[in-house]
Symmetry: C2
Subunit: 340 residues, 2 copies
């Protein structure tokens, strides 16, 4: 397996960041993988509190922690000098250091020396694994669901994680597969597809959901949007390499322009379904849409129900806001569609 892989349990490092919005990686880990988080390390009492036990490096080592994960995004993306002593101590004590910074951990001499002496790994989540293969296009065993979107940043990762949770609750064998940085932190493994060299994009996507048992579902985090003027190639490669049997379209109610590309309209859900089937059927002829996931946070609460009901009638598919009612209705439909 060439994908990035993290070793739990984790100590979540929060530095001196008091704004919880900047600590969203750490918060995501607690939301979705609480059982892997042994404790938190804060440099000041003002730092964001994720509700985990506060631990020193020594206490974390004694508790069996294997990795320190930087759970907050420093301004500018580089390692603040105030973080250095704690991180060097952790690496020196043998903890893997995991980060998604703009600068590479290995380029920090103190950290690099400490990790070399203890044998700890410095894991940069932004860096794809070396020696990725070119796609084979060969069908793999097991079942796959991909979340796709009408745009970026509207809930593809969240929907996939909620689907994994609800599928497991329904007794299905399901694993979330991460294709972006925050997702990789949460899953503890994955490949940052947007950083992969183009020739190996579909090959990396194939590697992300390898052969599996016949009833097993990989729930793959989508990227970009198939109608996005800049990121469509990433969406295209992920779709071809994932060979999904099923997909869920994610959309934000009321979003009309591609965020950051305001001269481009958000495509209709119909168009995303049709293009996803057209492209996806190249590598899996049985691909089908199994639901629509709506980020309805922009709607008045009183309009939400009618909005979802109208979509459900139009597409004859379950339409949910995963934050509000979960994805159970989509899972029920999926089970029905893929009965052995």
């Amino acid at each position: 397996m060439h994908a990035i892989s993290l070793q739990p349990p984790y100590l979540i490092f929060l530095g001196d960041e008091s704004r919880r919005t900047y600590a969203k990686t750490g918060a995501g880990l607690v939301d979705w993988r609480r059982q892997l988080c042994a404790g938190q390390f804060r440099l000041s009492a003002d730092a964001a509190d994720l509700g985990l036990p506060d631990m020193s490096i020594e206490e974390a080592v004694a508790a069996g922690v294997k990795s320190l994960i930087i759970g907050t995004a420093p301004v500018g993306g580089a390692l603040p000098a105030s973080w250095q002593p704690a991180l060097v101590a952790a690496a020196g004590a043998g903890l893997d250091i995991v980060a998604g910074l703009h600068t590479r951990l290995a380029d920090n001499p103190g950290l690099s020396a400490a990790a070399t002496s203890s044998g700890a790994r410095l894991v940069d989540i932004r860096v794809p694994p070396a020696e990725l293969p070119v796609a084979t296009g060969k069908k793999r065993s097991g079942l796959r669901l991909l979340t796709v979107g009408t745009d970026c940043a509207l809930g593809k990762k969240y929907t996939a994680l909620q689907l994994e949770r609800d599928m497991r609750s329904a007794g299905l064998d399901a694993d979330f597969r991460a294709s972006g940085q925050t997702g990789i932190m949460i899953a503890g493994r994955g490949i940052p597809l947007d950083a992969v060299v183009s020739d190996f994009l579909s090959g990396a996507a194939e590697l992300l959901s390898p052969d599996n048992g016949p009833g097993h579902w990989d729930v793959i985090e989508g990227q970009g949007g198939i109608f996005h003027p800049a990121y469509a190639p990433v969406s295209h490669g992920l779709l071809l390499g994932s060979q999904p049997d099923a997909f869920v379209v994610c959309h934000e109610a009321g979003r009309e322009q591609i965020s950051g590309w305001e001269h481009y309209p958000v495509p209709s859900i119909e168009d995303v379904i049709a293009r996803t089937v057209a492209v996806g059927s190249m590598t899996n002829r049985n691909i089908r849409c199994v639901g629509v996931s709506i980020n309805s946070s922009t709607l008045p609460a009183t309009e939400r129900g009618a909005y979802l009901a109208a979509l459900a009638r139009r597409y004859d598919l379950p339409c949910v806001d995963p934050l509000v009612e979960g994805t159970g209705a989509i899972v029920d439909h999926l089970v029905q569609q893929f009965q052995p």
Copy 2:
């Protein structure tokens, strides 16, 4: 301009390679850019002869040569030891060294030291420029034609070069734009799109054909194939970023399976036209197919005419084998379609 850029005139380095098929980069340069090739440098009398004047490094410098281009592919992709003295002498004399090897020229200490002392550049054609932008999706001035294909390696580069030649003969202002290694050697500039990180693929394609005069044509070398199981994302990104007004479909007569992916059929020309219009219209609504370019080398000479005539009737488009009759018929059609 961030793209790779070579300085002519050139000295073509052929080493001791006697097989002309291995010297195809050098042969391509002589075929398409004879006026930029001042001479050839051969390590032995048995080496392939491109018909250029043989020159020593000293003679090349005296003749005003600015770059030594490695015009042959060494077995294994690394720099043979027997080449080292001549290349070090050339770099030391101030000639840029240009190569598309698997190993980086700058990783060769002798070459690196010689280039540093003289100020010569070591140009690796396989390495994309740093700091490529994300695509904007904004329309650029000027006109663009992209060659697309039913598969890889069937004439997209050759067709684009012949189109440039025939468009110039017809009095049009046209420039070939290279997106792959051999094309970059010939054009003296370009971006190796298959080596670009996925997030910047469409942005690199935008950079490849910048704003230009209203009647100017960029003739862009296509990559991969929009129905290729591994390389479709590259084709997709190049199509979105190129924003072509016109495209030519390239196909090899009789090829039925994707080369190297024999479980995938070659798509029909109809399907390639339809999908190229569907995807390309995202960034240019006026995109249209203006011709079909056939590699007919697999057909008996007696069947060629009937084959092309049948295709021309079916698509109502000029269909040519560019090696046999050139692309003049496509240029005539293009002029008619894009009359001011």
